[in-house]
């Protein structure tokens, strides 16, 4: 048995002249929660659509649950489920009817589909709502039913495209608990998100996608280590001070913001290193207004690896 639930090599996709994915290589271990993290337009949805057989790649290969997504797409479809950004439900059918329909389409007998629908409605706290048409549901209920519908056929690989986008905080929290529960059952979960917190909370491994390219991959801890264990945030006294520090060839900020006049630098967090950095950058003790040291967050990784070309060039604007 293959130990990888998802494996891609050199995956490419363009729409017209716009390159959306460039040579994407992913390896998702069986039974893990894997997060594809990136901004809007990074290529997350395209990746999910290719892996769930809805789009064909222009180049490269992808295997899901051991099957090729192009040549064996029917076999792939029997092993996966997809929950997209928009609820894939019939508004004018009740929750129970939607689930029974999905059950029948997944190959369950009529009684088995009925049983599974009841089971899922209970599991997702929708027992009472099950008899109502989906059109009357709140956003959070819809999302829960949508996720329930994707589980009808007991898939071994679950794709969740931005599962918490558009949800309020309590609903998002509930969604996270659900995903964590699914992961505990041993299925493989491949989710996309623009929320660092979500990836940090849920995922065993995180792939950072930017402009259709993989810019980093690893556990949340590994990614944070790439930025360094601690980070020194400097708040500069003036635009001139900001420009003079970012303009130095020996300064390589993890992140710099010319508007807020902040510069973030990696440090080991020791007093000696912080003091040395401050002295080195600001021997006159007039450039830096104040500073803070904190443990690197995924935000720092995200900003460091995906930010626009060096802020140095825009520092004087």
């Amino acid at each position: 048995m293959n130990e990888l639930a998802i494996e891609t090599s050199g995956l490419k996709k363009s729409y017209g002249k716009a390159m959306v994915l460039a040579d994407l290589d992913l390896r998702v271990p069986r039974g893990s929660v894997y997060a594809l993290l990136g901004r809007n337009g990074a290529g997350k949805t395209t990746t999910v659509r290719i892996l769930s057989t809805l789009s064909r790649p222009d180049g490269g290969h992808a295997r899901v649950a051991g099957f090729d997504v192009v040549a064996d797409r029917h076999e792939v479809r029997r092993s996966i489920s997809l929950t997209g950004q928009y609820a894939a439900l019939d508004e004018m059918q009740t929750g129970a009817e939607n689930l029974r329909m999905m059950g029948r389409l997944a190959g369950l007998s009529r009684p088995a589909a009925r049983l599974r629908a009841t089971e899922l409605l209970t599991g997702f706290a929708l027992t009472e709502a099950g008899a109502r048409q989906v059109g009357t549901y709140s956003g959070g209920m819809r999302r829960r039913l949508d996720l329930a519908a994707s589980l009808v056929g007991r898939p071994s690989v679950i794709f969740l495209d931005e599962p918490s986008t558009g949800l309020d905080l309590p609903s998002r929290q509930a969604m996270w608990d659900t995903v964590a529960g699914l992961a505990a059952d041993g299925v493989t979960i491949f989710l996309t998100t623009q929320y660092l917190e979500e990836a940090d909370r849920l995922a065993d491994r995180i792939a950072l996608l930017n402009g259709g390219r993989l810019v980093a991959e690893g556990t949340a801890t590994e990614l944070k280590d790439r930025v360094s264990g601690q980070q020194l945030d400097l708040h500069m006294a003036s635009e001139a001070a900001y420009a003079s520090v970012t303009g130095r060839p020996d300064v390589l900020p993890a992140h710099a913001d010319p508007v807020a006049l902040t510069i973030s630098l990696p440090t080991d967090g020791s007093a000696a290193h912080v003091r040395a950095l401050l002295d080195q950058l600001d021997p006159s003790r007039r450039l830096i207004q104040d500073f803070a040291v904190h443990g690197a967050s995924l935000d720092d990784v995200f900003l460091a690896l995906t930010q626009e070309p060096s802020p140095r060039s825009t520092a004087h604007v």
Binding site: R49, S55, R77, R78, L82, Y86, M92
Partner: protein, 255 residues
């Protein structure tokens, strides 16, 4: 590994059809329109225009096949909208990721359209009978007429399904209703010989006329007549071309 092998294609198609019929029943406005419109059309032709038309027979006897065909078109046209809405929503991705075949998805709308039309046609026959329509058909001839009408409904529904796959908005898909104007310049409502010369060529040779003539012959006990093969050819041609176009358009839409 999943424990399921997926639904068989037949059972998938049946589930999809059940879905479409349930959704039909959940749209009371569409349901009422679908039933009231044919009755209104019949009333308009028989009682409003019928008095002024003299063609040697009772006008209701003459006009029923034309009205049947006109209502078959208005009854099939909503297929375009429902197909279009399915393609635009997120649910199409789920169906495809569940390995429901494109032909089952689109075909379910056609089967549901056929069921809707059987109901409205039955109602139409009842209303016509109440207005004095007295068919002289033997049971096999009557079944033949209904069978040809059903074939026509399936063909036009596939045509509308193809239209629904071609356009991207439900508003544009509504234009399928314009197909009803094809039914007027035919032998359905007035003999072709009474039309101006420039319309006669079209009215005499368009697909509606042989279908109407065949249904008329069968209902009035005169036999299917010489138009039968042309009528069947037209229906099968529209059906084949539209179904093939639907398959092609579905693949293009979901590429």
């Amino acid at each position: 590994m999943s424990e399921l092998s997926g639904a068989s294609e037949l059972s998938g198609a049946m589930t999809m059809t059940g879905r479409e019929l349930r959704l039909t029943l959940r749209k009371p406005d569409a349901l009422i329109t679908g039933l009231v419109m044919p009755v209104m059309i019949m009333v308009v032709f028989v009682y409003l225009f019928g008095g002024a038309v003299s063609i040697g027979t009772k006008y209701v006897t003459y006009v029923v096949p034309g009205v049947l065909l006109l209502c078959a078109i208005t009854g099939s046209a909503p297929t375009a909208t429902s197909v279009c809405q399915d393609m635009a929503g997120g649910i199409i991705d789920r169906f495809r990721s569940m390995d429901v075949r494109g032909m089952a998805i689109v075909g379910s709308h056609v089967v549901a359209s056929l069921v809707r039309n059987i109901v409205s046609t039955a109602l139409l026959f009842g209303v016509a009978f109440a207005m004095g329509f007295r068919p002289h058909a033997t049971a096999p001839a009557f079944l033949g007429a209904v069978g040809l009408l059903a074939l026509f409904v399936v063909a036009v529904s596939w045509l509308c399904a193809a239209l629904g796959l071609l356009v991207s908005s439900a508003e544009a898909a509504n234009s399928a209703m314009f197909l009803m104007f094809l039914a007027y310049p035919s032998s359905g409502f007035a003999p072709v010989s009474t039309m101006p010369w420039w319309l006669r060529g079209f009215a005499g040779n368009q697909p509606m006329t042989p279908i109407i003539e065949t249904i008329r012959g069968l209902l009035l006990g005169q036999g299917a007549g010489s138009h039968l093969w042309l009528a069947l050819t037209w229906c099968c041609a529209i059906l084949a071309v539209s179904a093939a176009a639907s398959a092609l358009l579905f693949r293009r839409r979901t590429a």
